[in-house]
């Protein structure tokens, strides 16, 4: 994983609440055995019609959206299934951060393991971002802070360990492996065995 320290981008705004992972990546694309190439199917059924033609009115199809790496979404983004294909698809498309006022637990955890930054901010700045699509926003990962166009900042909270790993590009498996001895101790000393 590459270190993630700063993101500077215009925003693309998807003003829909409760976006579920079946929308982010429909189940029929989960038969893949790799992590690559899922961006093509991101929001597939919102981006394309049944006959395969593009829906030009869908925000991720607008030319302005193409280079945006920050997605501002409605409340409770990423609810539903545990498919890690959802953050994989967003990353493959070019999204590096999702900003909302609430993000579902499993999606958030999956995102952090892949270098996709899930950002939960207060309702007021979230509402403002929803109403002002395409603004230039800066994210300072080490400081856990979003800078809005006028220089105003909105702090967000993120698990300290997840941030540490993101900023250094560390894989969390390494941390677990360092505790191999503690794991063996636990296995040998527990009161009952599964």
């Amino acid at each position: 994983m590459d270190p993630l320290t700063k993101i500077e981008s215009r925003t693309v705004v998807l003003d829909v609440d409760d976006v579920d992972t079946d929308q982010i990546i429909p189940a029929r694309f989960l038969t893949t055995t790799s992590r690559d190439g899922l961006g093509e199917h991101l929001f597939r059924d919102w981006r394309y019609r049944e006959d395969g033609s593009r829906r030009d009115d869908f925000v991720l199809n607008s030319p302005a959206a193409r280079d945006c790496s920050i997605l501002v979404a409605g409340r409770n983004f990423g609810c539903g299934s545990s498919r890690e294909h959802a953050p994989w698809a967003l990353l493959d498309y070019g999204i590096r951060a999702v900003i909302s006022s609430e993000i579902a637990d499993i999606f958030r955890s999956n995102s952090l393991k892949n270098g996709l930054l899930p950002i939960v901010i207060d309702k007021a700045p979230h509402d403002w971002l929803l109403q002002n699509p395409g603004v230039q926003v800066g994210i300072d990962v080490a400081a856990s802070c979003v800078t809005l166009p006028g220089g105003e900042t909105a702090a967000y909270s993120i698990d300290a360990f997840a941030r540490y790993c993101l900023v250094r590009g560390l894989d969390q498996l390494g941390f677990l492996q360092k505790h191999a001895e503690a794991i063996t101790d636990y296995e040998e000393n527990r009161q009952w065995t599964p």
């Binding site: 079946d22 038969t31 893949t32 609810c79 299934s81 890690e84 579902a104 637990d105 498996l173 599964p194």
Partner: protein
């Protein structure tokens, strides 16, 4: 926490599995007692192991099945089975290869134990009180019905568990949902959980582990408790738990993977302590009156958009999400859904495809026919459920009614295996998600209980099951 302070069921299971305590800087390392795996969310995890040259730490605590992309069309022998789609076929093959290479037990096509991952764990007695159980699947919450701490994880985490048998976790908050009284006739566990989600919202449990308690829960059989815990994730909670009791122990006693003899006695003694102490503190509490509940039905595109079956669908009143949902569903606000014509009825999924679910459907279908123009699929949750149902002659009831009787699998719950709802058609499904396109591109889904499903299949339109009781 000081010693002697009353603890919740969750606290007890959590602290029993701490390998390394959490600190402000680092999450806890939590030991996992049972890791269930299936073909869709594991291929990339095995790649992690292979790339790092790592073995599976505890093959003996890992159990594999194939359920999501497997066909459910009836076959005489499993050699005749044809997997729909190249991707699905490759995935199933890789699952078999991965399990062989890493020495993991897999219930493959010819296994009598194969089935939906959340049906087979309990059925085998592998799901037990006090265990930590994970799977790359959000409905792992199902296993919490036994007083296990069970939750869904992503594929990277599947890799972590395969390699270390542990997960990095922050301690979640707790939410107590107390259900008093008992459920009325025609009102099932499915109606209860839909009513709870409608009340607290699809994010009402985010960041929390739910404990379902109260008289209505104590009065439920294990199948029903599993239905309730199964849909905890639909309220945003990763896990739902129910304290184990004699109902739990009776269910487990004698199952293939349950403890035997002296071990059984010791286990039951240990399990009896797994309940929330009186005075234990929860971060949030909700109370529900069981006797007030009605059969429920969803009208929108998430499981929180549900109403009692005879109640009108809410008016839009400027609510953009509701407008979008009703547009997609082609459902008119302000009127009840009863009488709406349905194209497909699906009885299946890890929510409602256990034996008692099929019995409930059969009780209404016995001696009746599925309405002309309506297609009904009945997909048992496992090969064992299929066998048990056939021993009771339920398959004869279904076939005589004109329904399709299938092999086990996820099937039309998520339409990965070729069983899909055609675009625009309305499906009444006993599964757990009515998201746009969940059952197939452009498919429209309403969720309800197996009783409502069977009653509606007979009439060909959405029907209050109490008309048949």
């Amino acid at each position: 926490m000081t010693a002697g302070e009353p603890r919740t069921l969750f606290d007890k299971v959590w602290s029993d599995h701490i390998v390394v305590e959490e600190t402000p800087e680092t999450p806890a390392i939590l030991y996992i007692d049972l890791h269930l795996i299936h073909e869709v969310t594991t291929p990339q995890a095995f790649t992690i192991l292979r790339d790092a040259g790592l073995p599976v730490r505890r093959p003996d605590l890992t159990l594999g099945t194939m359920d999501h992309s497997t066909p459910t069309t009836p076959v005489r022998t499993f050699k005749d089975l044809e997997i729909v789609g190249e991707g699905a076929a490759r995935q199933v093959m890789q699952m078999q290869e991965n399990c062989r290479e890493f020495g993991l037990e897999l219930f493959a096509f010819d296994s009598p134990h194969r089935g939906i991952v959340h049906v087979i764990g309990p059925e085998l007695g592998a799901t037990q009180p006090g265990k930590t159980i994970v799977c790359g699947d959000s409905h792992t919450s199902t296993h919490g019905a036994f007083g296990a701490l069970a939750f869904g994880i992503g594929t990277t985490e599947v890799g972590h568990v395969l390699a270390t048998q542990c997960l990095l976790q922050r301690k979640p908050k707790t939410l107590s949902i107390d259900i008093s009284g008992s459920l009325g006739p025609g009102v099932t566990a499915k109606d209860l959980i839909l009513a709870i989600i409608a009340r607290i919202g699809v994010d009402g449990g985010t960041g929390h582990v739910i404990e379902y308690r109260g008289k209505a829960i104590a009065g439920m059989a294990m199948d029903a408790r599993m239905t309730v815990c199964n849909m905890s994730i639909e309220a945003g909670a990763r896990a739902g738990m129910i304290a184990p009791d004699d109902v739990t122990f009776d269910y487990l006693n004698g199952r293939p993977r349950a403890p035997k003899g002296q071990d059984w006695e010791a286990a039951v003694t240990r399990w009896r302590a797994l309940c929330s102490d009186s005075g234990a503190r929860f971060d949030k509490t909700v109370s529900v009156r069981g006797e007030d509940l009605q059969p429920m039905i969803t009208f929108g595109t998430n499981p929180g958009m549900a109403v009692p079956i005879n109640a009108p669908v809410p008016e839009i009143n400027g609510n953009a999400s509701l407008r979008k949902a009703l547009d997609y569903m082609a459902i008119i606000p302000g009127k009840p859904l009863t009488g709406t014509r349905i194209d497909i009825v699906f009885v299946g999924s890890c929510t409602n495809a256990r034996l008692s679910d099929l019995q409930q459907a059969a009780n209404i279908l016995r001696g009746r026919k599925v309405a002309p123009g309506t297609r009904m699929l009945i997909v048992p949750g496992s090969q064992q459920v299929k066998k048990d149902a056939e021993a009771l002659g339920l398959h004869d009831v279904f076939i005589a009614a004109g329904a399709e009787w299938r092999e086990s699998g996820c099937s039309m719950c998520l339409g990965m295996n070729g069983d899909t709802v055609p675009r625009g058609q309305l499906s009444l499904s006993t599964s757990n998600r009515n998201f746009e396109g969940r059952q197939g591109s452009g498919a429209r889904t309403v969720l309800a209980s197996p009783l409502t499903a069977a009653a509606s299949a007979v009439r060909g339109c959405i029907t209050d099951p109490r008309e048949f009781l």
